[in-house]
Symmetry: C2
Subunit: 336 residues, 2 copies
């Protein structure tokens, strides 16, 4: 992040027609965006796009979710038709939607989405390595290349989205790896499982953590151990946004797990991340703490798809717009 | 609120393509809007307008604020020129802005705003009644008539805004009256006063509460005792929105105090209120509790002007849009 731009932004905040500090969290947020973009005032972070990275998980075979794996593909059709929550939110907030098949198990060739399937779902993380080294690299490249391409197309704010039945299981394993929290702390109900399934899911995560025992200094090995393909792609997307000096708004627990991977690879990448919201999934708060990010919205959402990121986008945009467009006391002829 | 529309909305929420409850607070919010408008799915609450009611306060003479009273009028010029935070947020979120002089002390005849000055500021609430019975009625009518007029003009969501140096002092007295909290609990730093000024401001509020001793069952007498003209107008605006079955998004502590007046006059009016945010001003959380409202945004803002309401508007709109526009599982051909 550009320290000179951040200093200039802090000084400008102090001169705007409002009591010092009265825009609360939004003031610091605007200063961070100045640091990301290297300009003060920063340009409005528009246009914005949310990319929904979709993939399946071999651990689904362990009955960690009540939903059939085919729902991942069915929801991709729903995204493509504009019928999902992320579509409604994105339309409302002026955010474009891209959908990427980076590893869905069911063929979705007929859909008008971005086809970048690395393999049809990960292997079962509770039994074996979820991905090979090459598969991890390929999935990271899908996200990083797409971030480059979106910025070339003119997007100035990238939002994360995700879809994949059983993806909270892989997220829990990744979050435990990078935060040191136990499986019991970071494993949650995902889409809404009962107590017995939660206990089973937690045991699956715990067993996998013992089996693979990846240290937090080995992010690529963690992706090999646990997946998922969308986590790898999201990590690449975050790194790509950061490399392009463009803010990236993180959605929920899946994005939080991916951001921990990105942080382990390049700590400075987190300077470009904004936490859109805090998910109801317990691992997310743990991830945000290690990332050092404060969520903008906290409304008990636990849907994924990018809904929390899209919901937060106008807040980021308002923060930047206030810094860029408000009059100073001098402009307004006000002296206190 | 329309119970049949709310039941229909709850049923529709359960059929949409997402795990039950996964949109958290937004699901209940969408059901509330269905109840307000009497339709399911409710129409998108657009277009939206934020009305900034501005007035001055005689208690300013007691040195409860570091800002000169003339800043109220200067900020009206800033609103009219589009240079304030509320203008930046409103532009970002597609919300129109109206500015109303309902009782500014300094003449603002030259500004292109709504002129409805009932009197040039209240009398000093620490010394005497702030307003007469007729003045309260006139200010309430300004807000109620404007709400009617805005709905006639096609607005389908009304947001509250406010401006007035020393208005957190009157707000504290009103909030103490209706919640039973002490002056020490509800009096805050407003635009950012030091410890000594805070202690003095708290004593001023306490003395006024003892002097006037208005019971919570007498909202019109409370407005006479403490003002302000913008609080009365805001109460009328809230009642007007409710009478027109249109949602009203409340901003911060000033709106919270006015909503307590509206609640005391017509409890059902609060069915039409959405708490935009929780202000850093301590009385606001106390007011929200008595109103029974949960804020959508909590980002340490303490500016007023309507900024918190405008920041929350896209969240309300997303909640309604999801209910109105998402596919059902049946539409999408998904069975669990």
């Amino acid at each position: 992040a550009d320290q000179a731009a951040m200093r200039a932004a802090s000084e400008r905040q102090a001169a705007l027609t409002k009591p010092a500090g009265s825009l609360g969290v939004l003031e610091e947020l605007s200063v961070r965006v100045a640091g990301m973009t290297g300009t003060c005032p920063p340009a409005i972070p528009a246009p914005a796009v949310v990319t929904v990275f979709a993939a399946d998980h071999g651990v689904h075979a362990q009955n960690v979710s009540p939903w059939p794996q085919a729902v991942t593909a069915a929801m991709l059709a729903n995204f493509a038709a504009g019928g999902a929550a992320v579509n409604a939110f994105a339309k409302n907030n002026g955010v474009d939607v891209r959908v990427v098949d980076v590893g869905v198990a069911t063929p979705v060739d007929q859909l008008d989405i971005i086809h970048a399937n690395v393999r049809p779902g990960t292997r079962d993380l509770s039994q074996t390595q979820a991905l090979t080294e090459d598969e991890v690299a390929a999935a990271i490249a899908v996200g990083a290349d797409l971030a480059d391409s979106l910025v070339r197309d003119g997007y100035r704010c990238l939002l994360t989205g995700d879809m994949g039945i059983a993806n909270t299981t892989a997220s829990a394993a990744l979050i435990a790896t990078f935060t040191g929290a136990t499986a019991a702390v970071v494993t949650g109900r995902g889409t809404g499982i009962d107590d017995a399934t939660l206990a089973h899911k937690t045991a699956v995560v715990e067993t996998a953590l013992v089996r693979h025992a990846v240290p937090p200094t080995e992010p690529l090995k963690a992706l090999q151990a646990y997946g998922g393909l969308e986590h790898a792609a999201l990590a690449g997307y975050i790194l790509g946004a950061a490399a392009n000096h463009v803010p990236v708004i993180l959605d929920g627990v899946i994005a939080g797990a991916a951001a921990l991977v990105a942080q382990a690879l390049h700590p400075a990448a987190i300077d470009y991340c904004v936490a859109g919201h805090r998910s109801a999934e317990p691992g997310h708060a743990v991830a945000l703490k290690t990332l050092g990010l404060q969520p903008l919205v906290d409304l008990d959402l636990r849907l994924g798809e990018g809904t929390g990121a899209v919901l937060a986008y106008p807040i980021l945009s308002c923060a930047v717009r206030a810094l860029a467009e408000m009059a100073t006391f001098e402009d307004a002829g006000i002296t206190s």
